[in-house]
């Protein structure tokens, strides 16, 4: 208990509205940077929840466009997206492990952020406003869309994981093959193995050319997977892109649900819709910044890989395996914990 300061009021029973004595923070302890950052984001978020509630409450009793609400919602969107979360985890992992243009990352981030706002609007306005649900039932509905998003999160994780494991084992095989090439005696053995493998896909290969083509052959088999695999890759990648956007977008933002439910009950539907739109724009800005960073990091890393350093190739695969596994685990964890969620009453 630090310093105790007494109120300046001359009479005991006279306490000024909001009278609070703020004592100076005397013992500023050292904390982990992470804790500091998390605490800051969380504290801000909590303040935003209160501010948004207050702005809506004030709009209820007085006419106005509510620019303050829109501005606060926008800032909330920017900040909210800056916190740690599954949305950013999945987008970052995807962009780090997939060669893609800057535009694609930006488009994905924008689509996901806007979809999130739309999900909230459809859930709250659609269910309460049109289908006559009770506000608390909307929470149940948003829980269900969240579950779908968790499943998608796990699936995208699985896809990235499988893909990275495939690429890694291919790389390992190629590396082994290369080192085998140095020792001429083991070469034949390796080649036979690869040859069998490739035979299914590629009938053009001549059996006569064994020795001269040996190296290229192995390389194509282990690393590039041939044109058929590339086609599969594109389709899988397209699905994964949609998966990423949906995994993020189907999870309505709690701030958006809060604002919309309050707005419904308070008869401020338009204000609520604009606020959520502003929130989505704010979220999009942060997510786009993240997508740009991830794409740049990926480009930088693939420039390193271009030097064919085995370490970088393996490290790249490692990121995919680790990130994919993490997303898979994250998705399953969130899914299982979502089944124990309920509404609590005081005490």
């Amino acid at each position: 208990m630090g310093a105790v300061t007494f109120s300046a009021g001359s009479h005991a029973t006279v306490s000024l509205p909001g009278e609070k004595v703020v004592t100076e923070l005397s013992s500023e302890q050292e904390h982990g940077v992470w804790d500091q950052a998390a605490a800051w984001v969380w504290t801000k978020q909590r303040e935003f929840h209160r501010t948004l509630t207050r702005e809506l409450r004030e709009l209820r009793s007085q006419e106005g466009i509510g620019w303050m609400l829109v501005l606060m919602s926008f800032l909330y969107g920017v900040l909210h997206a800056a916190g740690p979360g599954h949305g950013k985890a999945v987008l970052t992992t995807y962009l780090l492990t997939h060669r893609s243009h800057m535009n694609r990352g930006i488009a994905m981030g924008t689509a996901a952020a806007l979809l999130q706002g739309v999900t909230a609007l459809v859930l709250v306005y659609g269910l309460i406003g049109m289908a006559g649900w009770l506000p608390r039932e909307t929470e149940t509905a948003s829980l269900w869309t969240s579950r779908v998003s968790f499943i998608l999160l796990a699936l995208v994780g699985l896809y990235i994981l499988v893909r990275a494991v495939g690429a890694l084992s291919g790389t390992v095989r190629r590396l082994r093959h290369q080192s085998g090439h140095a020792h001429h005696h083991t070469h034949d053995h390796d080649h036979d193995h690869d040859h069998d493998h490739d035979h299914d896909h590629d009938h053009d290969h001549d059996h006569d050319h064994d020795h001269e083509h040996a190296h290229d052959h192995g390389d194509s088999c282990g690393c590039r997977h041939g044109p058929t695999a590339a086609e599969i890759e594109t389709v899988g990648s397209r699905h994964a892109t949609a998966g990423v956007v949906l995994a993020i977008g189907l999870r309505p933002c709690s701030g958006a649900v809060l604002v919309l439910i309050l707005a419904t009950v308070m008869d401020l539907m338009w204000h609520g819709a604009f606020a959520v739109l502003a929130m989505s724009v704010g979220t999009a800005i942060t997510v786009i910044a993240l997508a740009v960073l991830a794409t740049m990091a990926r480009d930088w890393a693939s420039a390193m890989v271009a030097h064919r350093s085995p370490f970088w190739v393996l490290a790249g695969g490692g990121v995919g395996v680790f990130g994919g596994a993490l997303l898979l685990l994250f998705g399953l964890l969130l899914l299982s914990s979502s089944f124990t969620t309920r509404l609590a009453l005081a005490g």
């Binding site: 208990m1 105790v4 300061t5 007494f6 009021g9 009479h11 005991a12 029973t13 306490s15 909001g18 009278e19 609070k20 004595v21 703020v22 004592t23 302890q29 904390h31 982990g32 804790d35 500091q36 998390a38 605490a39 800051w40 984001v41 969380w42 978020q45 909590r46 209160r50 509630t53 909210h80 916190g83 740690p84 979360g85 599954h86 950013k88 009770l134 506000p135 608390r136 929470e139 829980l143 869309t145 993020i248 999870r251 933002c253 709690s254 701030g255 809060l258 309050l262 009950v265 308070m266 929130m279 979220t283 997510v287 914990s337 969620t341 509404l343 609590a344 009453l345 005081a346 005490g347």
Partner: protein
């Protein structure tokens, strides 16, 4: 409840209660009871009673539940007096109602052994133990009133100062997780009442 990109929102606290406390002094200048008023946040209120659908019957059922639940947690109030903790009698005049579309619960807690703020500081904290709810004295209106107090009685309020690690920990707790019954108190304001 769901969130944007951060699991942070699922974290504690989920809701908040604005607290009003009226400390009642007897003719000898001793505190013999406190009238507490809890004003729940708009969102929680809507979730709890579906606003317009709030019937008297429904509200009374909620009141009954809340009172019996909170009885196990000394009504979210802890008073320190000369090293000991003050004990309460059964709550009186418990009421529930809607104020500006928010659920409001109020009741008076009689204090068994009267407190003498002239003899030593009376220090109290209000907290919901698990920090599912954040309980702070209201910023609007007279949140703390020293009713019929003798001249020279003052109070002071010290804001909570949880360290970052604790805040981060609370933020990491999901809706259904609990950080134990000692979490809330660490996020509580400390109010001191003293008479000179």
């Amino acid at each position: 409840m769901a969130m944007c990109f951060a699991p942070g929102v699922q974290s504690h606290p989920h809701h908040w209660i604005d607290v009003f406390a009226e400390w009642q002094f007897d003719t000898k200048g001793l505190i013999d009871g406190v009238k507490l008023r809890w004003l729940f946040d708009d969102y929680y209120s809507i979730l709890l009673v579906d606003d317009t659908a709030a019937t008297e019957e429904k509200l009374q059922a909620i009141l009954k539940r809340v009172m019996s639940n909170t009885a196990k947690h000394h009504y979210f109030l802890r008073i320190e007096n000369e090293g000991g903790e003050a004990r309460f009698g059964n709550p009186e005049q418990a009421k529930i109602g809607m104020r500006d579309h928010r659920v409001e619960i109020q009741f008076r807690l009689p204090i068994k052994t009267r407190l003498d703020p002239g003899q030593g500081d009376i220090v109290y904290r209000v907290a919901e133990p698990t920090y599912y709810f954040e309980m702070l004295h209201a910023e609007e209106g007279a949140a703390i009133v020293l009713k019929d107090a003798p001249n020279g009685c003052r109070y002071s309020l010290e804001p909570p100062q949880p360290d970052a690690a604790l805040v981060a920990y609370a933020a990491s707790l999901g809706v259904n997780e609990s950080g134990g019954d000692e979490l809330g108190i660490q996020f509580a304001e400390t109010v001191t009442i003293r008479c000179e």
